[in-house]
């Protein structure tokens, strides 16, 4: 089974702080990590390969330093890694990003399955996964929490919904986006870390993937950011003081308008 996993390198949001003076994000010293949801995508890909054979190729689009994320993926059992990096990709919104990734996937060649995390923790859009499947015109199932059954040409999966889950059958090749419940990612193995050290990820630019210049980067992006601002930080309010019964009564009184209609 040939599996492609799309990942993104993101700032480790635990470390995101706002500078109280300039009111902007402090990015100095913020560690970059693999997007948390993508870790589940990598693990699921590696597990399927271990069951059925084949290989897992991980792909990312980003600045040159995104290579670190690819090496980490290799240490977790991924076979091959592709880095898409080019100034021409700068300014990509989700339309252009999914276009560029789909062009690179076409170049990689035949695949049975594409797995993405449900969304990235920095942009939080959940649009790139479905965007890739739309560009490639393959079926998709989003928010997958379990692969119940999978064969060479079909899969039966559970898609998480607001009320529970749907059971969906899809032919392969297809694209799945996955949520945390699907597995517990492994830690890198010693052997994996050795491989990651010596591995040479494939590096492709816009020329290599034979993509249309007008569909990449800022030029290929229908949307444009016009303003970025920090929301007024939420202030801690009142600590209710007194005995348990007293504070409970006080709280009910304070929340009366919200809970009693």
């Amino acid at each position: 089974m040939n599996i492609i996993v799309c990942i993104k390198q993101v700032p480790n949001t635990t470390d995101v702080r706002i500078d109280p003076v300039t009111n902007t994000l402090i990015r100095e010293g913020v560690e970059s990590v693999i997007n948390p949801f993508d870790a589940y995508a990598i693990e699921e890909g590696v597990r399927l390969k271990e069951r059925f054979g084949g290989k897992v190729t991980v792909i990312t689009m980003g600045p040159p330093q995104a290579e670190t994320a690819l090496r980490e993926a290799i240490s977790l059992g991924v076979d091959e890694a592709v880095l898409l990096s080019d100034r021409k990709f700068a300014g990509s919104d989700t339309w252009a990003t999914s276009y560029t990734l789909s062009a690179a996937i076409r170049k990689i060649g035949a695949f049975d399955l594409i797995i993405c995390g449900k969304q990235a923790s920095d942009g939080d859009t959940a649009q790139v996964g479905p965007g890739i499947s739309a560009h490639l015109d393959i079926p998709q199932v989003t928010y997958v929490k379990k692969i119940e059954d999978i064969s060479a040409n079909a899969a039966r999966v559970e898609r998480m919904t607001e009320e529970g889950y749907d059971i969906v059958e899809t032919p392969l090749p297809c694209l799945l986006t996955v949520v945390k419940e699907i597995n517990t990612p492994r830690l890198p193995s010693i052997k994996g870390m050795m491989r990651a050290k010596s591995a040479k990820p494939v590096k492709w630019t816009a020329c290599d993937i034979e993509a249309d210049a007008g569909s990449m980067g800022l030029d290929g992006s229908p949307t444009r950011v016009i303003k970025i601002f920090t929301p007024a930080p939420r202030k801690g309010g009142e600590i209710l003081k007194g005995g348990t019964e007293y504070v409970s009564k006080e709280l009910v009184e304070l929340l009366k308008d919200i809970v009693i209609h």
Binding site: G129, V141, R159, T223, T244
Partner: protein
């Protein structure tokens, strides 16, 4: 000419406003002038507007600018499950009405389903001027392929100016595909929408970096301008029984109705009696509960308040409660009117998922727990005493009303 960004050094006054505006830390001051580090710059354009001296220019190779005047009307995709219209769609009709009035165009509801005729009156009462209805047995439940193909066909035939959709599991899966197919701009998870009346642009404001920053996004040269909108942020459209709508029934050939994926079953989990994303009240439990049995009182309090049960990642990872209840970065984002956090310390990953709630109540025995920094009201104490007392007091107050 590829896209580029330029700082005109003759105009740059060295004020440094752009340095603070850059979310990627790509601008620094060299002497008296701003310099962009192109290795970090993503051409997002956030620095252009803050510059008071018009010293920064973002150039986009737009090609021939399309004639956008043929696009009109505000569309709302109406999400139905088992034939029931979801509340987020009524919120979008409420917001869509305001946008349509500002633009002087019609508000249109688009509904796909099976035997949906009975819903027409409901949509008209909620303010739709026009209702596009596509009724077919194959559309009874949501499936990516037919829903995508039909929305694409409709958008191509009727050219809407704006298309709104709930940021739900269905909405986020569907319109991402539609936007790619028709090359439209799509902005995810908006919490604020407005109109620039002069340019007829939809101003879409959304949180990013887990709500640590907000971004306003436009779609200058593509139509429709598409956005998914978060639950519970906009107010539901009021009901006006006298409002009448024009109804347009469309049908499509069978091959459009075909789905490559097949929906086998829809499973509703008992835990999700009240939908976490749509609940007005969420009561959440964390590590402080000490074990799965601690959720008994959390459920009881949620039930008393007709709310949903949430949980921190720690409680989910310990297998005390299913993942579908997890609130936070790797779980769900909620913004209820009232969020009660019991025995949750308030790590940033949890705060990301709930900090936009209107009122936050925290109960924790540790006075230094970070949750108190965002809580509207805090109670420092033992949850095993406070939560039962709250159940008693809320139940009494609700009985009285």
């Amino acid at each position: 000419m590829p896209a580029s960004i330029t700082i005109f050094l003759d105009k740059c006054a060295g004020c440094g406003l752009c340095v603070g505006a850059c979310p990627f830390g790509a601008i620094h001051m060299a002497g008296e002038k701003a310099v962009i580090d192109m290795a970090k710059c993503t051409l997002c354009g956030a620095c252009v507007e803050p510059c008071d001296f018009k010293a920064i220019e973002l150039k986009k190779d737009a090609g021939a600018v399309k004639d956008l005047s043929e696009y009109k009307d505000v569309w709302v995709f109406i999400e139905q499950k088992k034939g029931v219209i979801q509340s987020v769609s009524f919120e979008l009709l409420g917001e869509g009405r305001k946008l349509a009035d500002k633009l002087g165009v019609k508000l249109c509801a688009v509904i796909l389903g099976s035997e949906m005729e009975s819903r027409i009156a409901e949509l008209a009462e909620r303010g739709a001027d026009k209702i596009y209805i596509i009724d077919h047995p194959a559309l009874k439940s949501y499936q990516d392929d037919p829903y995508t193909q039909i929305l694409v066909k409709l958008a191509e035939e009727f050219s809407p100016e704006i298309m709104l959709c709930g940021a739900t599991t269905i909405g986020r899966s569907l319109v991402s595909r539609v936007a790619v197919k028709i090359k439209a701009g799509l902005t995810a998870d908006c919490t604020g929408l407005d109109i620039d009346p002069e340019k007829r642009l939809l101003l879409q404001t959304r949180p990013a970096f887990g709500g640590n920053i907000m971004a306003t996004i436009i779609t200058p040269n593509h139509r429709p301008q598409m956005a998914t909108v978060r639950h519970k942020v906009m107010k539901e459209a009021l009901t006006d029984k006298s409002n009448k709508a024009e109804v347009i029934r469309k049908s499509y050939p069978e091959d459009i109705m075909k789905s490559r994926t097949r929906l086998i079953d829809v499973v509703e989990e008992i835990e999700a009696t009240v939908n976490l994303a749509e609940a007005d009240v969420v009561v959440s439990g964390g590590r402080g509960l000490g074990g799965p049995e601690g959720f008994g009182m959390i459920r009881e309090l949620a039930k008393a308040l007709n709310g949903a049960v949430g949980a921190s990642r720690a409680a989910v990872d310990a297998n005390w409660i299913p993942y579908s209840n997890q609130v936070g970065q790797t779980g769900k984002t909620v913004c209820p009117k009232l969020y009660i956090a019991c025995g949750i310390s308030g790590q940033i990953q949890h705060l990301i998922g709930m900090q936009s709630s209107q009122v936050i109540v925290a109960v924790n025995k540790d006075p230094d727990a970070p949750i108190f920094k965002v809580a509207t009201y805090g109670i420092i104490g033992d949850i095993f005493q406070v939560v039962p007392a709250l159940i008693k007091e809320f139940s009494r107050a609700l009985r009285r009303s």
